[in-house]
């Protein structure tokens, strides 16, 4: 029981940071050039923020899939035309939904996703507190005077 709680708490603590970690750095991206370094930065950032929809958990920058290439091309075009992050995110989510975002936005639909680690942590803490409280209260009241005397006698026997 206690181990179960420890594991639950560990999971709760671990899930938060894990969710915030995005995919690793670019690896399979075509060579593209932009007019300004800001545009290039935005392009690279967008590729790590957008998900390849047909792959098992890869961002656009990690994927070699046809669709990922097309979407990279689209992002490149939008960046080159001077569109900002919000415009690109809007374009993508209007077509593919929230799912394309690696880091889902905080909204009614994603509320549970965002607060569940915290909820689990609180749940684990509450269970732990209850368990400890029950243990300590039991040790205070569980033994009668007669029982304690018996224990004392046994210990004395042992020491002799």
């Amino acid at each position: 029981m206690r181990r179960a709680i420890v594991i639950a708490a560990a999971v709760a603590v671990g899930m938060g940071p894990a969710m915030l970690l995005s995919a690793s750095a670019a690896s399979t991206v075509e060579v593209v050039s932009f007019a300004t370094p800001q545009q290039e930065n935005l392009y690279r950032k967008m590729l790590t923020e957008l998900r390849c929809l047909v792959c098992a958990n890869q961002s656009l920058s990690d994927s070699n899939a046809e669709l990922a290439k097309d979407l990279r091309g689209k992002v490149q075009k939008m960046v080159a035309h001077g569109q900002n992050r919000a415009a690109i995110v809007a374009y993508m989510t209007n077509r593919y939904g929230e799912y394309i975002l690696y880091r889902p936005r905080f909204s009614g639909a994603t509320l549970l996703l965002w607060v569940s680690p915290l909820l689990l942590l609180l749940l684990g803490l509450a269970a732990a507190v209850r368990l400890v409280a029950r243990k300590s209260s039991r040790s205070e009241t569980a033994y009668s005077a007669a029982q304690l005397q018996k224990v004392g006698a046994l210990l004395k026997d042992e020491l002799n």
Partner: protein
């Protein structure tokens, strides 16, 4: 309260949670396009390349947009069903969107298997399809008289989808009109 009660509840709720998870299809994404205007486009026609197909032509009609390619294996699976749909009484026109395909191969494919399409638009570079949020071929969209997307099906159509989703929708849209 037994000391096993709490773990048992945790275990049971996990089972329920995972059980529900198993019945969901993680590939199925709800399309944000549902209820919204279908992106308009004009593209050359496969069998009459000098002419364009434009979504404006379909205004006032309930129609199906079917994204397909000759290289797509799953497209063969739904093909017989599309042919049947096209030949049915009071059929809705089916427009094909030929996705990243070689026009010669696409024509040959239709010649062998039969052509269910009223029009076929050629999307060689997949740009229009990207606009529709296509991520797996075949995909099928039911579009209403006002040009709004009503149903989106990712993957091959099945008789069940036609009976339980497309047909009731088509009937409803036509009654409303």
């Amino acid at each position: 309260m037994n000391r096993f009660t709490a773990p048992l509840w945790v275990f049971l709720s996990l089972i329920v949670l995972l059980g529900v998870g198993l019945t969901l299809n993680p590939r199925e994404l709800p399309s944000p396009l549902l209820g919204k205007p279908a992106p308009s486009f004009a593209l050359p026609r496969l069998l009459a390349p000098q002419q364009n197909f434009s979504t404006a032509q379909m205004q006032g009609q309930v129609w199906l947009l079917n994204v397909w390619a000759s290289w797509c294996a799953a497209c063969v699976d739904e093909h017989a069903l599309l042919l049947r749909l096209a030949r049915a009484e009071r059929a809705v026109p089916i427009v094909g969107l030929n996705y990243k395909d070689d026009p010669a191969q696409a024509s040959a494919w239709l010649q062998t298997l039969g052509n269910p399409y009223a029009y076929i638009a050629v999307d060689r570079r997949g740009e229009v399809s990207l606009d529709y949020g296509v991520y797996g071929v075949p995909e099928t969209y039911l579009i209403d008289q006002a040009g709004r997307v009503r149903v989106k099906q990712v993957g091959p159509l099945t008789a069940e989808i036609v009976e339980h989703s497309l047909r009731p929708w088509i009937q409803k849209l036509r009654e409303e009109a």
